[in-house]
Amino acid sequence: MKLPISWLKDFVDLDGLSVEDIARTFTFGGLEVEEIHYAGLPMPKDAASNEFKTSGIGWDRDKIVVAEIREVKPHPNADRLTLLDLFDGTQEQVVLTGAPNIFHLKGTGKLAKPIKVAYAKEGSTIYDGHADGLVLTTLKRAKIRGVDSYSMVCSEKELGISEEHEGIILLDDDAPVGMALVDYIGDAVLEVKINPNMARNANVYGLARELAAMTGRDLRSLPDFGGLKGGAGNFAEIEIVDPQLNPRFVLGLIRDVEIKPSPYWVQRRLRLAGVRPISNIVDATNYAMLELGEPLHAFDYDVLNERAGKKQVKIITRAAQDGEKLTTLDNVERTLSSMNVLVCDEKGPLSIAGVMGGAESEVYDASKEILEAKAIEPKEGEPTMGKINMRGKSTTNVLLEGAAWNFINIRRTAKQHNLPSEASFRFSRGVHPALAEMGVRRGLQLMAEWSGGKIEAGLVDNYPLPPKESVVEISTRDVKRILGIELSAQEIASLLERLEFKCEIRETIIDTRKSKNELSNIEHRISVTAPPYRLDIGEGVVGVADLMEEVARIFGVERIPETRLADPLPPQVGNPAFEWDERVRDILVRLGLQEVVSYRMTSPEREGRLAAHNEYARIANPITPDRNVLRRSLLASALEAAEKNVRAESLELFEIGPIFEPVKNDLPRELPRLAIVLTGLRAATSWDVKDSPALDFFDLKGRIELLLAGLRFVDVTYAPTESVAYLHPGKAAEVKVNGQVVGVFGELHPLTKEKYELGARPVLAAEFNIETLRALSPAYGIVPVAEFPPVYEDIAIIVDESVAASRVEGLIRQTGGRSVSDVRLFDVYRDEKIGANKKSLAYSLTYQAADKTMTDAEAAAIRNKIVKRLEHEVSAKLRS
C-alpha cells in the first residue's frame, strides 16, 4: 500500500512528526514501511545512514515554486517548442518548453485565465525528464535554438511524483503563485507492507486510524456525507442468489455527470498511490477505494437500462456456470468456472465480482476514444481499430456498486484468471460489509464534486448476511499471562478504544485459583466488541489472542519488558539420533573429508546415470524440469558434487541426508544415508611431491575402517560383492557390522564412470545406511596396554591368488589367540619364482603375554602352530 503523507494528513494531525517518525511508528506497530519515496518533502540530511530505504527528491524551497503562464508564444526557430511568459511570484520569466499539453495555446495571445504550473528556477535539481530511469540534473543556463534557457516548467517525472512525462503538470486554478512548491504539494509516500492480519488497513483511513492509535492522536472523521443519506432508492433491484458468496450489495446512482479529467490534486494523489488517473468518475471509485478500502465499480446506467429493455434494472449476483463467457474491460474474453461469482443483469453477466468489470457496461469516455482513434491512423483499406464498446456518447448516468464478497472465492478467481488488481487484493483478504455502503456514499460524493452530477436520493441495499458481531471477553489476568505486563482494566480498555473497540469493564471477580504467576487474585474482565470495520477478531481463545496482539501493538511491543523464563525446565533428554549423525560428521571431517549438501530434488535422468529407479516421489509443480523428483540416491548427489569440482586435484567428499522412497498417495519414507566420494591424487602436488599416486580402493577402505573404529564398532567385516551394478565387480565390498550389512563401497564401474565427467583417475564411492548403523551397539572399553616386552617376528607365506587376505589374517589371529596381539600385513608380492597364480603375503606378528615376558621359544611354538594351520587350511607355504 502506497500511502501519500498528504492524504494521511486529511485524517491525523501530523504536527511534530517527521516522515521518518511516522514510518518508524508504523514499522514498530506491525505495518512495516519498506520504502519512503520523497516527492518534494525534504529528504533526511544524511540519506546514507537512514534507517529506511529511500528514493525520490526533496524540492528546493527557494528554487521550485508555483508559477503562472500568462502567454504561450511561438519559438522563433523551432516549430515544436514554445516560449512561455511566466510569472513566478516575484518576476516575469521567459521559459522554453516543448510540453504538448499547452502547445494548443501557442500564439493565442494573453491567456484569459493564466495556467498554474510547477516552475523550477535556474540551479534547481530535478530529474532529467528525457533520461531513461531517474537521473538527477541541475538546471544550467544554455542556448536552445538561439534562445536563452535557464529554467523549466516541470512534468511529474521531473519532480519525482510519477513516471508521467507526457506533459507538464497543470496545477489546479487555486494554486498560490510564488508559493514554494513543497509547501503546496510537497509529499512523501510510504510503501507500507500489509500483512494478512492488517488487510483492514489497505487504505488511507485505516492507516490513519492506526497512526492515531499508536501516537495517541485524534482521528478525524470522514467528510460528512451530508444529504446523501436517505431511504431506499428505487432505481434498481438487487437479487443475491447466494449470500455466502455475496453478503451485501449496495447501489447508488448519480445522473448528468460530465466525464473529464479529475482535479490535479486528485490525479497527483492517485499517481502517488500507484493508480493511474482515468477520468473523474473512474478516479472517484479508485479514490474512495484507496481512502476507505472498499473497491467500487461504476456501471453505465444507460447501458443497463437499454439491456433491460427500458424496464427496471435488476442486478443479480450468482456463481458462474462452467464455460460461461464474459469480455472484461481489458477486452479479453474470459471463460468462467463455477468458482467465479458474477454480477449480472437479466440479460447476462456484467462483471466478474470483485475482480474486474465487463467491457460492455463500463463507464465510457467518448473524448478519450476519439483521441485514441486519432492516434492510430488506419491505413487505407484496413478496418478502423476500435474498442467493442465504441458507443459514441460518453456516460452521463452512473450506477455505483459497493459490495462484500467471499474472500476465498475472490482469491481463487483472481488466481485463476491471473488478474491481480487493487480490488481483488482487498476483496481476497476480506472487506467488512459495512464498508460497502460507506464506500458507495463516498464515491457518489466525490463524483458529484468532480463531475457536476446529481446524486439520486437513496441507495438500493441488499444485505442478507451481516457478519456476526464479534464480542470477546478478556481479563487483566490474560494480559499478565500472555504479555507479561500488568495493566489495569481501564488501561487495557483505553488502548483498545483507540482502535474503536467498544469496551465494557464488566465486573471484578475474586479468583480463588492460586497460581504462581498471579500476583493478584483479583481479575477484571472486559467485554470487548470489535468495531464494524474488522473481520479479523475471532471467538473465544482465538479472540483473546487477537486482542492481546492489539494491546501489545498499541501499548508498544518495544515497551514490554524483557524477562527470563521462570517456567520449569523440562527434562533434558538430548536427541541421540541427531547426535549420532553429528558424530559421524565429526569423524569424517577428522579424516579429512569435506561435507557437501545437495538439493533434495533431482531428476530420474540425473540419478539414472548411477542407478535407475522406476518409482519416485514426484514434484507436481517442479520449478525446473531437472528437479522434478525427490532423490532416491545420496551417492548420486555426492557424485554430482564431485563432478562440479572436477578440476580439483583431489576430492574427498561426503554427504549425510535423507533419500525419499515413494509410498503411493502417502508420505514417502525418509531414509537417512551417508555417501562418500573420493577421487584424485593421494597427496597434493607441490615442490617436493611430483607424482603422487591416485587415491584408490584402499584409501577409501582405510577411511571406512577408521570411521567405524571411531564409532567404536569392533565386529566389522568386509566381503567382496558383485551385487552393486555401479561398482567395479572386482573392487567392491560390502561392510558388515555385527554381522549386519551397513553399506557398500568400491571403485566406480568403468561404464558408470563414463557417464560422469570425473576425469581419468579412479572414483571411489561408498554408501551407508546410517540408520542401521545407529541401531547397532558399539563396543566400549579399552584394551589394556601390555606391560611386558613382546617378541616381534616377520613371516611370509605363499598362497593361491584366490585366498583372501582377510582369511589368512583371520586364521593367524584365531590360531594365535591372545598371544598374538598384532598382525600387520606389510607386503604383498608376486613373481615368477613364487609361481603363476600365487602371491606372497608378509606379516609382522607381535607375540605378547599379559603376565610375563614372552620368550623366543614360546613365540616360535606359536608361530609353528600358525604355519601348520595355514598349510592345512589354505595350502600355504612358508617362504624361506
Partner: protein, 351 residues
C-alpha cells in the same frame, strides 16, 4: 733447555697450518705421541743428573701444558668451523611452502546450525527433528493456515504428486513448524491431562517454490525454537531471544522488536539485532539501517496449542524461527545464496 724451546716453537708453528680434524690428529701424534720430540725429552729425564733433572722436567712440563692448551684451543676452533660449515650447508629456503595435510570441513550450514543449536542446548532447548515431506494438514492447517487463507501466499509450496487426498495434499515442508505440532503431540501423549513443558529447537531443511537466484533459493535451512509451559509470556520471549542474540552475536548485541504477523503466533514480532558488522553505524550489510532482521517470533497461537494437545487457557508459549544461511550471508558478506548448495569446494574450503 733450548731444545725444549725449539720443540715448543716447532709444534706451535706446525699447528698454525692445521685446519682439519684429521690434520689435528696427525699433529697431536707428532707432537704429543710416544715418539714425539717432547716425549723423548720426558723419556730421557732419567738419564739426566739429579741437579739437571728438576729444571728440565719442569720446563718440559710447561712445554707440554702449552702444547696441550694450544691443541684444545685449536680443536675447539676446528669443531666450530666444521659446525658452522655444516649449518650453512643445511640451510633451507624457508620461504618454500610447507607440507600440508588434508583438512576436512563441515558444510558452512552445518557449522552455523551447530553454533545456533549449541547455544540453544545450553539454554535448555533440545534438538527435535522431523520429516521434510509433510501433509498440508501438518504444514498449514494445524498451524492456523486455513485452506485458501491469504497467509498461504507468503509460502508457496512444492507439491508431491498424489491422488485422492482432497484438501490434504503432500508437500515439501515450507518451514520446520510442522515439527512443533509433532513434538507437542508427542509430549502431550505422555500425560494428556497435564502435558509437560516443552523447550525444543527444530532444525532442518525447508522448501519454497521460488526461482533460484542470487537472492532466493528453493531450499534452505531453518531453526525454530519452541517453549510451552504454564505462564510463559511475551516478556519471556523478549528476554530469552535477547539472551540468545547476545550469545550469538556478541555480549553487547542490542535487539529491538517490531510487531509483525505470522499465522501460527499471536502476538507476533520481528527481532532485529544491531548490525554486528558496523556496530549500528550503518553499512552495506545492514543496508545503512544499523539493524539486521534476524528472526520472526511470537506467542504460540491458541489454535496451534490446541492442535498440539495443550489447552490454551492453561498453557502459553512462544516460538521463533531463523535462517542459518541468512546469518552466514550477513556474517561473511556472501552475496549469492546459490553458493550453499552449489557444492563448489572453493567456497566450502573457506569455512
Amino acid at each position: 733447555m733450548d731444545q725444549l724451546n725449539d720443540i715448543e716453537k716447532a709444534a706451535l708453528d706446525a699447528l698454525a697450518s692445521v685446519v682439519t680434524e684429521e690434520a689435528l690428529q696427525a699433529w697431536k701424534t707428532a707432537q704429543l705421541g710416544r715418539s714425539s720430540p717432547l716425549m723423548q725429552v720426558f723419556a730421557g729425564l732419567g738419564k739426566l743428573s739429579k741437579e739437571e733433572r728438576p729444571a728440565v722436567g719442569s720446563a718440559a712440563n710447561r712445554v707440554k701444558v702449552a702444547i696441550e692448551a694450544a691443541l684444545a684451543a685449536r680443536e675447539t676452533e676446528i669443531k666450530a668451523a666444521a659446525l658452522a660449515k655444516s649449518l650453512e650447508e643445511d640451510a633451507l629456503d624457508v620461504t618454500l611452502p610447507g607440507r600440508t595435510v588434508n583438512v576436512g570441513r563441515l558444510h558452512p550450514s552445518t557449522q552455523q546450525l551447530r553454533r545456533v543449536l549449541d547455544i540453544l542446548k545450553e539454554m535448555g532447548f533440545q534438538v527435535y527433528t522431523s520429516r521434510e515431506v509433510e501433509t498440508d494438514e501438518m504444514n498449514f492447517q494445524m498451524l492456523n493456515f486455513p485452506l485458501h487463507h491469504p497467509a498461504r501466499d507468503m509460502q508457496d509450496s512444492f507439491y508431491v504428486e498424489s491422488e485422492g487426498r482432497g484438501d490434504n495434499p503432500i508437500l515439501m515442508r515450507t518451514h520446520t513448524s510442522p515439527g512443533q505440532i509433532r513434538a507437542m503431540r508427542e509430549y502431550a501423549a505422555t500425560n494428556p491431562q497435564n502435558p509437560p513443558p516443552i523447550r525444543i529447537a527444530l532444525p532442518g531443511m525447508c522448501f519454497r517454490y521460488e526461482q533460484i537466484t542470487s537472492r532466493s533459493e528453493m531450499q534452505f535451512n531453518q531453526v525454530e525454537g519452541l517453549a510451552v509451559g504454564e505462564g510463559i509470556t511475551f516478556a519471556d520471549l523478549k528476554g530469552t531471544l535477547s539472551d540468545f542474540a547476545r550469545r550469538m552475536f556478541g555480549q553487547n548485541a542490542r535487539t529491538r522488536f517490531r510487531a509483525d504477523h505470522f499465522p501460527f503466533t499471536e502476538p507476533s514480532a520481528e527481532m532485529d539485532v544491531e548490525c554486528f558488522v558496523c556496530g549500528g553505524k550503518g553499512c552495506s550489510v545492514c543496508k545503512r539501517s544499523g539493524w539486521l532482521e534476524i528472526l520472526g517470533c511470537g506467542m504460540v497461537h491458541p489454535v496451534v496449542l490446541q492442535n498440539g494437545g495443550y489447552d490454551p487457557k492453561r498453557y502459553s508459549g512462544f516460538a521463533w524461527g531463523m535462517g542459518p544461511e541468512r546469518q552466514l550471508m550477513l556474517r561473511y558478506k556472501i552475496d549469492d545464496i546459490r553458493y550453499f548448495w552449489g557444492n563448489d569446494v572453493r567456497f566450502l574450503e573457506q569455512f
